[in-house]
Amino acid sequence: MPYRILLICDHAFRDTPATAIIRAEIERLMPDANVLIIDIHLLKVAVERYHPHLVIMNHLHDPRRNEILDDVRRRGGLVVAMNPEGRANTVDSMKWSTNDFPHELCDLYLCWGTGVTEFLPSDIRHEVVGCARFDFYFEPYRKLVQTKEILLARYGLDATRPIVTVASSFPQGKFAKKQTDFLVKDWGNLKLSKVKGRENPAEHAHSELEAFHRFQSWLVSLRYEYPEYQILVKPHPAENIEMWTRFCDENSMSIMPMDYVFSLLALSDCHVARVECMTVPEAWIAGKPTVQCLLGNAENEGPGMDAAQLGFFPSDTIDKFLESVSACIQYHTDGKHWLGPRKRYIEKWLGPMPGSAERIAVAVCKLLEEKKPEAWKEPTHQDWVEIHGLLVQHSRDRAIPEMDFLGQFSKSPRWEDTQSWTNRAREVLA
């Protein structure tokens, strides 16, 4: 029987395209394989019906989901950890992300770059593959990014005026005033509160909110200092959208809540983000000038601050910030002499590129061929009917974009979208 591979997707507007190209690459290498991309919240119900030979999971830090993965392994399946979200920013969070999970659950750990392998314990099998989401800056998958003309029209922007793109990155800020208990429990559950600097989740949320307000005040100044700039804000996938909608409306900024970072950067003349934000090196890959904002609560060591060392315009005051944005717009660059060090940084922390999706597919197929897993049972007719029904219903229920209880907007990856992205990826590969 063909292998069944379950690919977990955690956020619609962060992970969907990357998981789709991984699926297309696996199908190319293993045409008989049945690959299913599902919302992470459907993990349990999908595992019970789909009986996967292999699950590709975003992380193994959640004890409740680990129980499900443990079942998969006990029933003969394999588990691969692959982080689609971002790289840990500090040395301590890097140690947490690479060590603090049950190693016996992990059959293969797919690392972005060699920097991560330095932290991985020796008992974990790993491969350096890069991250599939960066494949969209290179051929062939670059074709799937919409053209600047289409994106300009979508966001009502003027092609003749400079566009400053802003990626926000304050996901914990929303917990400062409400649902703090959720954060405390969540971090306790993930053991994140053991990480240095995160011992007190409530305090961390407050500090994030302060930094967030500072960031917004800088953007307001930018708006008034340079009214000719068009400012396009992409909230972080895990932020409360309400923290941005009114702000953007009142300050004549455009907002991009339901699109991908590669679309944001396709429009960018200058990209603004806090110093540790993953979109900064992503903008380097896309060849866009960046302004990194030092907002006062970054850790001093680790990949996040390493990126700051390479920023031509790390801005720690509002004046420097305004000056940096203006310089980027004026000269269309943030210093080409940084290309070498930045390339080395990207190789170390973000991994080899392009071709990450293909490397991931090769690693997964190699593991399957080597281990030859056997599922304890094949899905019955009723299982297939139920999996299909579940995906259709899940997709229908989320057809109208809305906030979840944490304020995250349209987070759930819908089956229709994963299918549509997969088709586009197949077309590109064909």
């Binding site: 094949e378 007719h381 297939w384 999996i387 299909h388 259709v392 299918q419 088709n423």
Partner: protein, 194 residues
Amino acid sequence: MTTLILATRLSKLFIRIAIDELMRDSSVIVVDTNAEVHSVLKGHNISSIHLEPAKKARLDWGERDSNFKRIFMDGPQLKCSFPNTDLPVWKVVALDRFSFWYNQDATELYDLIMALQWDKCITSADLNSELPWSLARYSGRPVWGVKVSSFRTREWYDLGLTSNIPFAGLYIGNESDKALLAKFGQVVTEVVTI
């Protein structure tokens, strides 16, 4: 590549194949021609377009019979008349076996389906509906049939003997059906286990 799934009659195998296609590819159009079939598909969360002929054409028996012959009775064994008569064999066999169920409305449905954009069709191998057979024979695109009733009937056997099964292939549920169809030759089969 867009796949058209046309359901005139259902079976467990048909549902399974439809679900497989829908899960594999988003470019799938599902169409049905029967209210009951539509409701069963809906019950399986399969979103289907229900097609129904809008007009009732006046019946021309001559045209009907010749269409019927063209679709169902075309084959070397039946291209003859009974000895010492002008009575074609196909006409008698047709009256005996299939003609009773032959549905003229299929012509209009055929036009409706051909108006859709598709590259490959998967349809019910339904002896009681002309539509799948017309598509298989005349659409010029690959049309696969799915077993929706037993092949071990006199009708299928006779049809098989005409060597005139027009489908690009048949989806079947087991190896014994494959062996049976192999006797008719030239029938590509794919066994789907359910």
